[in-house]
């Protein structure tokens, strides 16, 4: 029965080439359009977030603002590592895993901060 498929609708080289190029172009077109949609969606989301931020009084001055590099250690900070919504136990595990993956002893590594991405 395999011969069925071989004889049915066999395409010429030109036709197959056109179908291949067209297919590749359609995939690109679809994903580029989707990329534009996602970018617009991200911008719209950022737009809706910013006014809300503006309403809250001076968030940058908040002591635990994760984006501010000069922010003082958040509550729960361990030594020099600033922890944002991360319990000590989990931070220790994360640091151990990173050290293990890098193949370096923990005391040779310096962690600046660990924050939970929400």
């Amino acid at each position: 029965m395999n011969t069925i498929a071989l004889t049915a609708a066999r395409m010429g080289i030109g036709e197959a080439g056109i179908a291949a190029v067209l297919g590749y172009a359609v995939v690109f077109f679809g994903l580029v359009l989707l990329m534009c949609v996602v970018i617009l969606m991200g911008k719209a989301m950022a737009g809706t977030r910013n006014p809300a931020k503006a309403e809250t009084p001076a968030p940058a001055a908040a002591p635990a603002a994760p984006a501010a590099p000069s922010a003082p250690p958040a509550p729960g900070s361990a030594g020099e590592v600033k922890l944002f919504d991360v319990p000590d136990k989990e931070a220790a595990m994360i640091m151990a895993i990173v050290a293990d993956k890098m193949g370096k002893p923990l005391n040779e590594l310096r962690f600046k901060s660990i924050k939970e991405v929400k």
């Binding site: 609708a9 395409m11 291949a20 679809g30 989707l34």
Partner: protein
Amino acid sequence: MDILQTLSKLVNESGFAGFFASGGWKNLIMIAVACVLLYLGIGKKFEPLLLVGIAFGVLLTNIPGAGLYHMGMWDSYVYGCPYDAANDYALYNTAEERAYNEMELNYYIAARVCGHTTAQIEEYFEKQAGGDVTADFLALYNSPEFDESAVNDITSKLEAELSFTDIIHLGGLLDILYIGVKAGVYPCLIFIGVGAMTDFGPLIARPSSMLMGAAAQLGVFFAFFGACLLGFAGNVAASIGIIGGADGPTAIYLTTKLAPAFLGPIAIAAYSYMALIPMIQKPLMRALTTEKERKTKMEQARTVSKVEKIVFPIVVATFVILLIPSTAPLIGCLMFGNLLKETGVTERLSDTAQNALMNIVTLFLGISVGATTVASRFLSLQTLMIVVLGVIAFMFSTIGGLLMGKLMYKLSGGKINPLIGSAGVSAVPMAARVSQDVGREANPNNFLLMHAMGPNVAGVIGSAIAAGFLLAVFG
């Protein structure tokens, strides 16, 4: 009771006798192939969750006399022609691509009455190439072997066009399980699970990853073109090409719709190569990138809010389905599963989709796909060509993703590591892990995994769009 006669009947009806029948040696080879696949799945851990099931399906379907799967029955269903239940044979003229006409049917019955085998009958019809068979029918009819009393036995077992209901009545266990593949249910259910397990955050944070996911579909269309050059029909070539999408459920879904006769080899090639991704991709990644490019450290992408993650599957499903409606089953299920994960209010459903549902469907999918590898069909030159084209598809998909990665490296002023481009071939998360490994070989402080997840999940969407395109053209 004649003991000798009874014993003789038992021996003749046993599966062992089947190995000595015409073409029985092919079953032995397929059983050996099943054992090799089982070894790869169990011993080498090549995609074991699916490969072990597929391999066991290969074993079961090739044990003579087991009757768990009937290839002729599915041919009859696919081609819409009558079915000879006694001999598991679809009454289909391959040369003319139509059901047997009346005289061909008469010839077939006469040939069966005279004791002709399936292989002999197929050979005869191939030689006839749609020509008139009246003279040969009369020759058989007038031959001394022709026993008129046997005609009723044969005709009573001929079935008209089959439906799923007929298959449930007539089929074996694996025929019934295979209905889920044929109806396109299992791949879509698996996509719900895949969606529930996928974090699209890296893609939302860096939408340009979509370009790498698109570029990495190069192998799909390259292999499609190559298959057309080798003489495969467009529908089969499309199913072979989709191996390059490195997405098992998509490959199975498309092949079931376009070229069900080739489902076995295509599924086995797709899953085997997915397991071999590190071996296929790493040499290409090293060859196509410079040391400097591989060392590139990428900046952390922006944080993605929960609302964005919830809106993403709704927007993608709506947009992509509007663009290419034939992607609806795959993209719809993928995004539905992802929505269950991200909403935060359907945790039980998300958990079921990721675990219980995924496991149950994987069980049925593996064993029923394996069952389609019937020896008489699987052992052919075409299977070999599919295996070769499959690896070419994987290689060119990797090359496409890497080249796009290099282009983005240049355009971004060296901010994007081109290695993440190869992850655009889908195969979540294996391909992203390979990017991470090769990146760390060049620079031990390089962490590319999360960056590579962007193109990786974009590849899933890209391969679904590619499948949708091929389905729209050849379906």
